[in-house]
């Protein structure tokens, strides 16, 4: 099985923008038209988007994010990432926290253990140096998509992936649904915790 990385990029774009077009997606992701239409028709079928004369509108973000979460589950099955035990404080300058580790920063769970974090390939040596001490919590680090660094928010001194990515990654990790539902409700009611766009 191949990891649906390109599909994740498209789902992220839809979740962030809400409205876009086939033309824009084709230009941005260098994806072939039949593959893109297959993804869009499937999303339309589940009621996540409306596709009309090349225009795309997200009409049910919850469905879109659950679809993304399911794709994320497939990605995590293929790309295992590297697990290091670290003190989050020591890596926060160069990683983006997502999934359970972002839920921990948001105060939704007590520990970030086995949560997701993204790191740039160039920073892996720094991570290894810190990870060698084996202090703190085990966190899974991924570097397959550096695009994530363009979609971040700053909260409580940490850099987190945008909330849509956090939700999708949490579902991908197999996170308990109640917390996800809570986050979705907060997202829909527009509540935040003094976040700064990254």
């Amino acid at each position: 099985m191949r990891a649906p990385i390109l599909k994740e990029k498209i789902l992220r774009e839809l979740a962030v923008k809400g409205e876009t077009s086939v033309k824009e997606l084709l230009a941005k992701f260098k994806v072939n038209r039949p593959y893109l239409y297959r993804i869009l028709r499937s999303l339309e079928g589940s009621g996540a988007i409306i596709l009309e004369t090349g225009k795309i509108k997200v009409v049910d973000k919850k469905v879109l994010l659950y679809t993304w979460g399911e794709e994320k589950r497939k990605i995590f099955q293929v790309i295992k990432g590297a697990t290091y035990r670290v003190r989050p404080k020591k890596v926060r300058d160069f990683v983006v926290f997502s999934g359970t580790s972002a839920l921990w920063v948001l105060g939704k769970v007590l520990e970030p253990s086995f949560g997701t974090a993204y790191i740039k390939k160039d920073d892996f040596d720094r991570l290894k140096q810190i990870g060698i001490k084996r202090e703190g919590y085990p966190i899974r680090f991924y570097s397959y998509d550096e695009d994530i660094f363009n979609y971040t928010i700053g909260i409580r001194g940490y850099r987190l992936a945008i909330i849509e990515q956090v939700i999708a990654d949490s579902i991908g990790e197999g996170m308990y649904t109640r917390i996800i539902e809570e986050l979705l409700e907060e997202m829909e009611s527009g509540r935040d915790s003094g976040e700064e766009l990254g």
Binding site: K89, G107, L110, G136, G157
Partner: protein, 252 residues
């Protein structure tokens, strides 16, 4: 968690405490150093973190400045009672506070009476009722304070060491939970603590960190909920790591 619940800016006695802490601390800047809950509040802000506001006002001072300090406090209507200085308030029906004198306070029903406590810990005994603290002299000698908001505020390491000594007092129930919150906030603040300051204070009076770890473990969920309210991250491993690191450094 009543003790924590009353520590809100909505509570008028907190605002009164804040105003008097600033006024007294600024006007007696050369004679007093702020410690305790308000010092934690300021240092947490300086370190880019957040702490709960305080009810009581706590300072440390040298015996040689007693006359100047007492004169100033009496002129500002603080009543000396035992080792403390107290201001009395009548809580009005609309929730406001009206300052009253000690004599009037006796005529007010207890549920309408509010008290503001200002405590001073001295380097040497002023009277049989007064309290001394083993760190006071060195705080002034080594200038273990920062200037924040126009007053002298003890360094985080000083505040923490003083709180670590709490074990020597008897268990104080919910009041001790507030101390635990303060300890957590300062210990995991974004900046590194200076262990040399801890070593210096430890040489004057030893504190035991075992109770801190035990008490922390017993109250983790409570602390996590307070951290959430404060908008800071609850980092269990970081806290235990720092306390352990401190323990090791004190052995050396």
């Amino acid at each position: 968690m009543e003790e924590i619940a009353v520590r809100s800016w909505v509570n008028p006695i907190i605002r009164e405490s804040y105003d008097w802490m600033l006024k007294v601390g600024r006007e007696l800047k050369e004679e007093l150093v702020l410690v305790g809950g308000w010092a934690t509040y300021f240092q947490a802000q300086k370190l880019g973190s957040r702490a709960l506001p305080s009810l009581d006002i706590d300072f440390v001072a040298l015996k040689e400045n007693f006359r100047t300090i007492e004169k100033h406090l009496l002129a500002n209507n603080f009543t000396p009672v035992g080792f403390r200085y107290i201001k009395y308030y009548h809580e009005t029906l609309d929730g406001g506070l009206k300052e009253i004198c000690f004599e009037e306070s006796k005529r007010i029903p207890p549920y309408e009476l509010r008290e503001l406590f200002l405590d001073i810990l001295w380097d040497e005994k002023i009277s049989p009722m007064s309290f001394t603290h083993p760190y006071v002299k060195v705080i002034f000698e080594k200038e273990l304070y920062d200037e924040i908001e126009g007053l002298r505020v003890a360094l985080p390491e000083v505040i923490l060491s003083m709180k670590f000594l709490i074990e020597k007092n008897k268990y104080r129930g919910q009041k001790q939970l507030k101390d635990l919150v303060d300890i957590y906030v300062l210990a995991v603040s974004p900046e590194e603590l200076d262990f040399e300051v801890f070593k210096l204070l430890y040489s004057k009076e030893k504190f035991n960190l075992n109770w801190v770890v035990q008490y922390f473990k017993e109250n983790e969920e409570f602390l996590a909920s307070v951290a959430r309210e404060l908008g800071i991250v609850f980092d269990r491993e970081e806290f235990l790591f720092i306390i352990n690191e401190l323990k090791e450094s004190l052995k050396g």
